[in-house]
């Protein structure tokens, strides 16, 4: 088990909005091994970003982590004092934000925003050492040295995202969480940024959690993938297993609905409406839209079962 870097067990995060309680993440559990790339995929409102932010303990009111455990090595991050947690951030777990467009401080030069990270983790280095580290980082993410003294508004979208990647690997963390890092970028720039991230991640032997809704990106980048629906993890497995033999009906429909360059003029959507998180459907949240729904699917909540090593699914079809 020592190869497990991060274990998330039964994580629950609820948002207490005036309109009622939104169960954004409702009992999410998964395992992350050293150097492994795990994808968390799901449509909007599935709770994947909430899960990622919860691991970094960045959930702000009205959201609150109701329960569960997040084990980094043997430390439960949820029990750490805020000062200890602050030290963990970007030292052991780092984040590549979704909107790179405005994730950089607009009135601060790029180099200062990078050295900030080192100074915040009481790395007392000389000015020269810091400058050298910045140059080294920029080279790693294929950015010119002049970028260091530029301001964010002088950079293109792709370049800003590369700066975020550089910041994420500054303190050589064990885990990198990438929350839809390229959703705002063009497909050409997206590929270049993702391949830079892959190269750096492999050099660092860091693990990555890639949160996103683009199944294509998942197929190209991650080793194993977890599919989320209405705040719950409905399927988990290696990327080949999940894409080639999806078990959960939702995953099957999702993969079937993906446009591909083979089929022309043939469209297959998922009928019904995306679930409301305020009052989700009873029992299995997918039952109103599930073609293989059985009568008790609408009453009993399925639990996540390991049908074969490393292969999990949460559906009554697979319960004994």
């Amino acid at each position: 088990m020592n190869s497990d870097i991060l274990r998330v067990q039964d994580l629950r995060v609820y948002y207490h909005t005036p309109a009622g309680i939104v169960r954004a993440a409702d009992g999410v559990s998964f395992l992350l091994k050293r150097g492994e790339r795990l994808g968390l995929v799901g449509e909007s409102g599935a709770g994947k970003t909430t899960t990622a932010l919860a691991v970094m303990r960045l959930i702000k009111p009205p959201g609150r982590v109701e329960g569960g455990r997040i084990l980094l090595g043997d430390q439960n991050l949820l029990n750490l004092s805020s000062e200890k947690m602050r030290k963990v951030r970007f030292a052991q777990i780092s984040l590549i934000p979704q909107g790179a467009m405005n994730s950089l401080n607009p009135v601060m030069r790029i180099q200062d925003q990078i050295t900030d990270i080192v100074k915040a983790h009481d790395g007392h280095f000389s000015k020269a050492q810091l400058q050298e580290r910045v140059c080294e980082l920029l080279k790693q993410v294929e950015l010119r040295q002049e970028t260091a003294s530029m301001y964010p508004h002088e950079l293109s979208g792709g370049m800003k995202q590369r700066v975020c990647v550089a910041m994420a690997i500054t303190l050589r963390p064990k885990v990198i969480i990438a929350d839809e890092p390229t959703s705002a970028l063009d497909v050409v720039v997206q590929r270049q940024v993702m391949e830079t991230l892959r190269k750096l991640q492999e050099d660092l032997e860091a693990s990555v959690i890639l949160v996103g809704h683009d199944m294509g990106l998942m197929a190209q980048f991650v080793d194993c993938v977890g599919v989320m629906y209405a705040g719950k993890l409905v399927e988990l497995g290696s990327v080949r297993e999940v894409f080639k033999e999806p078990l959960h009906p939702y995953t099957q429909l999702l993969i079937a609905s993906l446009p591909s360059l083979e089929t022309k003029g043939f469209f297959k959507g998922i009928p019904g409406l995306t679930p409301s998180l305020l009052n989700p459907p009873s029992g299995c949240a997918f039952h109103p839209r599930c073609p293989q729904g059985m009568d008790y699917c609408s009453s009993r909540v399925p639990s996540l079962k390991e049908v074969s090593p490393g292969r999990w699914v949460s559906c009554h079809l697979y319960e004994a």
Binding site: V188, K244, L261, I270
Partner: protein, 338 residues
């Protein structure tokens, strides 16, 4: 025969006006031509990244903004020189669907407002009952149950539902052509297919031409019959979608198609092709081919004059000097058989 909708050598510059000194002009669209005949009703895709000028093109074709140079014609008549009557006919025959389902509804009104207004404005129905009838048919036409949709406020419907109501709105006026500006990019994958399907149905069953503007080449391939690839306001490649996607000739199109993440673990990205220089700081105004400073096959001529369209075979033209032996295509890239 006059074309349904045509753009002739249209260029659009956005000078950040205001103040006493107009700052640098940015090129949104440069010498763009397009002709849509309307019969047979076809589906043409305009593919390009953000900043390639796609949305500017849609606004030009709708007459919301006017071109800096060149003209836009509806049935041979210039948009800027139309009488009130001609403009109403144009407005009725050329409709659109916009990208953001959340922005398309006035929060002050129920969603019915977006359906009742066109009926009133174009006097499509003589009585309230007939109007109600028209609306319900249009909603059923896009797979929505009227009793579940009408009478609701916009924030009570999901993104997918709202976008389908937009398609119904366009359907109401039974236009000759619908300009769909990234209709599915803000909708969840599972609902994307249903909306694309309704667009295809409009074309096949009701004979409505569709101009599908998108950054997603896969859906463009699935929906359209022919395609135009745009980069920084210029046409890079155009032609039958089968040829352009399966056998791309322009270096930029090759880079685009090579970068698509296919949802199939066995179809991994080609080995990292780092000959393409990553996109640098925001682009300036260069004279020659816009892709020159990133293109691995760049030649001197590429920096001097922008390459014209060369016809490489029947229905496939590419704006790249690599194909300068091929005959120059006639300037109007139109959708009917070449």
């Amino acid at each position: 025969m006059t074309t349904l909708l045509e753009a002739r050598h249209v260029t659009k510059l956005f000078g950040a006006g205001g103040g006493f000194f107009s700052r640098e002009k940015t090129v949104a669209l440069e010498d763009f031509s397009l002709a849509i005949s309307g019969d047979p009703p076809s589906i043409t895709a305009i593919a390009g990244e953000s900043g390639s000028g796609k949305t500017t093109l849609v606004r030009l074709l709708l007459g919301i903004i006017s071109p800096t140079s060149g003209e836009i014609l509806h049935k041979g008549k210039h948009l800027q020189r139309m009488s009130r009557e001609e403009w109403r006919a144009f407005r009725r025959e050329v409709q659109a669907i916009f990208q953001d389902p959340f922005e398309a509804y006035n929060p002050f009104y129920k969603i019915d407002h977006v359906l009742t207004t066109p009926i009133a404005k174009f006097r499509l129905a003589k009585s309230k009952a007939e109007a109600r009838e028209l609306i319900e048919n249009a909603l059923r036409g896009v797979g929505l149950r009227p009793e579940e949709t009408l009478g609701r406020h916009p924030h009570e419907l999901s993104g997918g539902q709202r976008q389908r109501v937009m398609v119904a709105r366009a359907l109401l006026l039974n236009p000759r052509i619908i300009l769909a500006d990234e209709p599915v990019s803000m909708v969840d994958a599972s609902l994307r297919a249903t909306i694309l399907e309704s667009l295809l149905k409009l074309n096949q069953e009701l004979g409505i031409s569709v101009l599908y503007v998108t950054h997603d080449l896969t859906t463009a391939y699935q929906l359209a019959k022919n395609i135009i690839i745009l980069y920084q306001g210029c046409v890079m490649e155009t032609g039958d979608v089968e040829r352009v996607i399966k056998n791309p000739q322009h270096p930029y199109t090759q880079l685009l198609i090579g970068s698509i993440p296919h949802p199939d673990p066995d179809l991994r990205w080609g080995q990292h092709d780092d000959r393409f220089k990553p996109e640098e700081a925001p682009r300036g105004m260069n004279r020659g081919c816009k892709f020159a400073d990133r293109c691995p096959h760049v030649m001197d001529i590429c920096h001097d004059t922008p390459p014209p369209l060369f016809r490489t075979d029947g229905s496939h033209a590419v704006a790249c000097y690599l194909y300068r032996e091929s005959p120059a295509a006639d300037d109007a890239t139109n959708d009917c058989e070449y």
